[in-house]
């Protein structure tokens, strides 16, 4: 079991006051805080290593390249990819999905269908809308059920031989629903669709084995798993990565360049044009080590405890409506009150030093489904504690006394 109080000592940012109250940080689904080990790795990179990767024969460049590629290896092991070249560095989950969506521009046409779930973050929705617009393909949606899980019967009905792409998230950022990735992937493959999974919330909260799940693409972001912002990954199965054309042109992604034409580098460099965010990759490596040292089992047990405790605490509050009550949920408590705007609650929580997210959580179709302007979302990380939940519960009750 995780000792949250001990872990917190590793996070300098958590030890501060906001509006004169000790900070309670419950916006971890938006971004997690960074442990000293990660901050130190980034500083160390600039103090000792900084150089461009894959270029120079000089020692610093070698060191930078080694550190840069070491993280790729850690990510390969994290998701159990068959090959290291199947891990592409991107700017984040959004960048990863855009890479795939852009690549499919030459592979789709009118009559083809893209099936996306209604549970998606805009980052796994807008790129597909753009792809549909560009190619003339049709976008269809897997609807959600009142508990915030996907309507799997409808998913099966919607999948057909015209479905060329199936995209959904591992875990919903807005509601915390954990989706049956393996099941959906099997159904997708049965009709010949390419399966793309948004793992932004999946990677920090669940073990991921892309070979066992069978997915074709799996995207994630470092900053949601204790690492730096501006860096992410795309796992892609070799055959798909070879089929997709390069996303952006530039240095690093080419093999030969003449005035007439260029030939592209092999995987993964074909998709990594330009100087990458090396410091962030190095910091991510430290974050992965940090998570590994705790272990996913301990992280999940800690999270389950907070979810049970938090759900009970919030349910005790008069009139509170919990959005997302699927049997399998992860690290997110999304809630509201029929007569109150989430923004009012969020403001009064902030005044008490409690950081939550309010609004649509970049998932407007979900809010439309529930016919609400948004929710208040508390989301947990390794350093979250029962005391945080208590402060949240008390804070909500105080806000209610003021607002009603």
């Amino acid at each position: 079991m995780i000792d949250a109080a001990a872990l917190r000592t590793e996070f300098p940012i958590l030890h501060q006051q906001v509006h004169g109250k000790p900070l309670v940080y419950l916006d971890n689904a938006a971004t997690t805080q960074k442990p000293r080990a990660v901050i130190a790795a980034v500083v160390d990179y600039y103090e000792r290593i900084n150089s461009n990767v894959h270029r120079g024969v000089h020692t610093l460049s070698q060191r930078a390249t080694d550190a840069f590629e070491a993280t790729r290896g850690k990510l390969q092991r994290l998701v159990n990819a068959a090959h290291e070249h199947e891990i592409i560095y991107t700017t984040g989950t959004t960048g990863s999905i855009n890479l795939v969506a852009h690549g499919f521009r030459s592979l789709l046409g009118p009559g083809d269908e893209i099936l996306v779930s209604q549970l998606e973050h805009h980052s796994n929705l807008v790129p597909w809308q753009m792809l549909a617009q560009h190619t003339g393909a049709t976008l269809r949606y897997i609807p959600i059920l009142p508990d915030g899980s996907l309507d799997l019967d409808e998913a099966q009905r919607l999948l057909n031989p015209r479905t060329k792409l199936l995209a959904f998230n591992h875990i919903s950022n807005a509601l915390g629903t954990v989706n049956p990735v393996k099941q959906l992937t099997e159904w997708g493959h049965a009709v010949g669709a390419c399966v793309v999974v948004d793992g932004a919330q999946g990677l920090p909260h669940r073990p991921v084995d892309v070979q066992e799940l069978g997915v074709d693409f799996y995207a994630g972001s470092a900053h949601k798993m204790y690492g730096p912002t501006g860096i992410g990954m795309l796992y892609g199965r070799t055959e798909w990565l070879e089929k997709l054309p390069p996303y952006q042109g530039g240095g690093e992604m080419i093999s030969t360049v003449t005035m007439a034409q260029s030939t592209y580098a092999g995987l993964p460099f074909k998709f990594e044009a330009g100087t990458p965010n090396i410091e962030a990759v190095v910091g991510w490596g430290a974050a992965l080590d940090w998570m590994n040292a705790i272990g996913m089992d301990a992280l999940m047990a800690h999270e389950a405890d907070l979810m049970a405790y938090g759900t009970e605490r919030l349910r005790a509050i008069d009139g509170l409506v919990l959005f997302g009550t699927a049997p399998e949920k992860s690290a997110v408590l999304s809630f509201g009150f029929e007569d109150l705007h989430p923004y009012d609650l969020g403001t009064l929580l902030d005044q008490q030093g409690i950081a939550v997210r309010t609004g649509q959580h970049c998932a407007q179709p979900i809010m439309d489904y529930y016919r609400i302007p948004g929710t208040v979302r508390a989301s947990f990380a390794a350093y979250s504690s029962r005391e945080d939940v208590d402060r949240l519960g008390d804070g909500v009750e105080r806000a209610l006394r003021m607002l009603r």
Binding site: H19, L340, H341, Y343, D344, T347, L348, D350, Q351, Q352, T358, G359, P373, G374, M402, L403
Partner: protein, 143 residues
């Protein structure tokens, strides 16, 4: 009293009210109380034309001119925002268009509201103030 003097007197009154509270939670409580006293506007004003952009919560505002003075009707779907709306209306209602067109709403800064609000809410407040000034300008033009 000219309507400019009325505006200044009202602003001073609001500042005095807020300065009474040391704690920001109490100031918010006062703001919420203001929001609760604002009469609910009829649904007919809640149109896209009257909607102010730039708020996470929705704000609708409309105005009419009677006997040379401007009267506002406004509402919001969030209570704290309603409080801000109520404050603005309390200060601005029944003033001459040329006074509104020039209003700088300095009292909000004096209270510390503009800097204490979250950026999105502060943007919304800026949009509301701008809209009130625009109504002032527009009503100056239609004598």
């Amino acid at each position: 009293m000219s309507t400019l003097e009325i505006l200044k007197a009202r602003e001073a009154e609001v500042v005095e009210e807020f300065e009474f509270f040391d704690e920001w939670m109490d100031r918010y409580e006062h703001l919420i109380a203001q929001g609760k006293t604002l009469p609910a506007a009829s649904e007919s004003i809640k149109t896209d034309d009257n909607l102010i952009r730039g708020c996470q919560s929705k704000v609708w505002i409309t105005a009419e001119k009677r006997e040379g003075l401007v009267y506002f009707t406004a509402d919001s779907d969030a209570i704290i925002t309603r409080g801000l709306v109520a404050l603005l209306l309390r200060v601005c209602n029944g003033l001459a268009p040329e006074v509104l067109a020039q209003a700088d709403f300095g009292f909000l800064q004096e209270i510390g509201l503009t800097e204490h609000l979250s950026p999105t809410r502060a943007n919304g407040l800026q949009s509301m103030m701008k809209q009130i000034r625009l109504y002032g300008v527009a009503f100056q033009a239609v004598n």
